[in-house]
Amino acid sequence: MSAREIILARLRAALDPAPAPVEVPRDYRRDGAVDLDLLVDRLIDYRARVHRVAEAAVADTITGILPTGATVVVPPALPPAWLPATVTALPDDDLDTTAIAAADGVITAAAVAIADTGTVVLDGSPDQGRRVLSLLPDLHICVVRAAQVVANVPQALTRLAPHRPLTWISGPSATSDIELNRVEGVHGPRTLHIILLP
């Protein structure tokens, strides 16, 4: 008998007599209007820095964030107009981890943002790149379009594709491990900028 057969046999024996079928009540909130101000409020509460600008102003906004000559990791399909001339772009043509870790920052788009919780979700699309890009640099600039913002967690899951590698980000890296209070800044990016477009 394989471990698989043993475990399944044990579980089947444990469920004899069979429990009654369970109906899951789904009367919790699913609908709800998107409130961009709430998203901004939640983001700031968890120490993300928020910039609400028009798309034409993204490059200028990034110029204000990164010093001249800073190196930034750039996913393959990031809109080129977002990139200011003042920074040195490191396009991800299979960059090694050392190069990614040594960069001053990374710029990505997003897949979804959740107003209720102040969360942005990356799904590895070409304007966001593979997961390591937004992990190793100490500063992450994430550009979110208003149309990508949903009200709550249930709405976010309906928009996301489960087979893609997903990273849910709510504020910069933090820990609650010292006296159960939240402290920003451990292994992930210690600074998170969200540029919110109309």
């Binding site: 870790a101 919780t117 390591v132 709510s170 006296e179």
Partner: protein, 476 residues
């Protein structure tokens, strides 16, 4: 062993892992209560988290409806566990992962050791995981010459301090910032000798210490918070980014997961991703959640192994009342509200699962005889039931397990005598009159003589009234 026996629900084996304490709860608790620093640290931390959690739960108008949904999803999972695991296995395999089954801790440890050996690596990076603590994976890896590196800050504090975890969420909750600084100065190679006890400075020290290890280790071991049967998607919720490092950078990822962590559908995550962060760290959402399905070409580990662990869970499932302990999503809200946990801390419970949930889960995983004192490690106040985001009725389970725990012979004799007296009215009346004599034995709380003194060692005897109800009634 016969085939029939192999297929019957089984408890977790002794001699491996961390589900059994070395001494009963009352003895361990007495020592913990004498540690004033421990009580201050726990009181401060649990008060902080209770306030934070209450604040963010108060923001959610449908919290009770989410709890009801979470509880029902878990009950549904347990009712259909075998078919959901087979569905999960098929989905993970189709997405490029490899699924392994481990009937107990020894089998799981052997599977992981063999997988790591096959990669040629002599080191693994680990994301905090209750399942791997439960089975004693670190000890098994070390015995095989493989160095496990804990990357969660609290786990790192425990590992560097050669300590034991004392909380499900924050294993180093018993340490304050000054003690953490001392541990880092003593045990963290290359640490700045000018290190202060500012939490941000301590976190930065951990960042520097682990960065090179993250970048140079080719195998990671994780647990899982959720696994979706219909899609094969695994989810790990975390705060620091050490989870993202482990789930993203290595070539090989090995995830060890208790069989009860499976959820039926993608949509079910919408319930748990609302319940878990608010109940556990008191945040609207934890800083990072990673989800992956098998292997993604060009992104993250290119080899993924999922180890499905029984280790006593089938025995818990076999108890129709007790099985609700398997609803647990390891948020630790019940620890943070428990008046007993707040005073004794986690070590007194002996198992990696401390607090109220540990008091009902550990004895069921091991068999009640091996953790017989834990169902009594509670005042039955019910705060844990109110706090549980998936509505585990912990007080009901505690009483249920007390029934199953072996009782001392003296107690059984007294209960039998009481039952006989209550069946015989004349005898009962005589017994009531006799209790009045105990007023002569001295003041309240002095206790019963042996062999009944064990009962009154931790309890006051009630004051016996001057006359019985029957005497009072007869005089009316």
């Amino acid at each position: 062993m016969t085939r029939t026996f192999l297929g019957m629900p089984a408890t977790a084996p002794a001699g491996v892992g961390h589900l059994r304490g070395e001494e009963p709860f009352p003895a361990a608790a007495r020592r913990a209560l004498a540690d004033a620093q421990l009580r201050r640290n726990l009181g401060h931390a649990t008060a902080t988290i209770r306030a934070k959690s209450a604040g963010v739960i108060g923001e959610v108008p449908d919290w009770e409806r989410l709890r009801a949904a979470g509880s029902a999803i878990k009950a549904d999972v347990l009712a259909r566990l075998p078919e959901l695991l087979e569905q999960l296995e098929a989905a993970v395999t189709a997405a490029g992962g490899v699924v392994h089954w481990a009937a107990d801790a020894n089998e799981a440890n052997a599977i992981v050791v063999d997988l790591v050996r096959a990669t040629g690596s002599d080191r693994v990076i680990k994301v905090k995981s209750m399942a791997t603590q439960e089975i004693g994976l670190n000890e098994a890896l070390e015995a095989a010459g493989i160095a496990p590196v804990e990357t969660d800050l609290a786990e790192l504090i425990v590992q560097l301090g050669e300590d034991r975890p004392s909380h499900i969420l924050v294993p180093a909750i018993h340490r304050n910032r000054a003690e953490i600084r001392e541990i880092f100065l003593r045990a963290m190679p290359g640490v700045d000798p000018e290190l202060t006890d500012e939490p941000a400075v301590l976190a930065a020290a951990a960042r520097r210490f682990l960065r090179q290890t993250f970048l140079s280790t080719s195998v990671a071991v994780s647990g899982a918070n959720f696994a979706v049967a219909e899609t094969g998607t695994l989810a790990v919720v975390e705060s620091e980014g050490n989870g993202r490092m482990c789930l993203t950078l290595p070539r090989t990822l090995i995830t060890v997961m208790g069989v009860e962590k499976v959820v039926p559908t993608w949509r079910d995550l919408e319930v748990f991703l609302q319940l878990l962060p608010r109940a556990s760290t008191g945040e609207r959402m934890n800083p990072y959640t990673s989800m992956w399905t098998g292997v993604t070409p060009g992104d993250g580990p290119q080899a993924f192994h999922l180890v499905l662990l029984d280790n006593g869970r089938s025995a818990v499932l076999a108890d129709e009342v007790g099985r609700q302990a398997l609803h647990c999503i390891r948020c630790s809200a019940c620890l943070n509200v428990c008046p007993v946990y707040e005073r004794t801390g986690g070590h007194a419970y002996g198992s990696v699962y401390p607090g109220p949930i540990g008091a009902v889960l550990s004895p069921q995983l091991t068999g009640v005889a091996d953790n017989a004192s834990l169902p009594y490690a509670s005042s039955l106040c019910g705060a844990c039931y109110d706090a549980c985001p998936v509505k585990i009725n912990i007080p009901e389970l505690l009483v249920h397990l007390r029934d199953q725990a072996p009782h001392p012979r003296g107690e059984a004799a007294v209960m039998a005598a009481a039952a006989y007296a209550m069946d015989h009215p004349a005898l009962y009346a005589a017994a009531q009159r006799a209790t009045r004599l105990s007023r002569l034995t001295g003041r309240r709380g002095r206790g019963l003589p042996p062999p009944l003194s064990g009962w009154t060692a931790g309890r006051d005897l009630p004051e016996v009234p001057a006359q019985t109800f029957r005497q009072w009634w007869a005089q009316r």
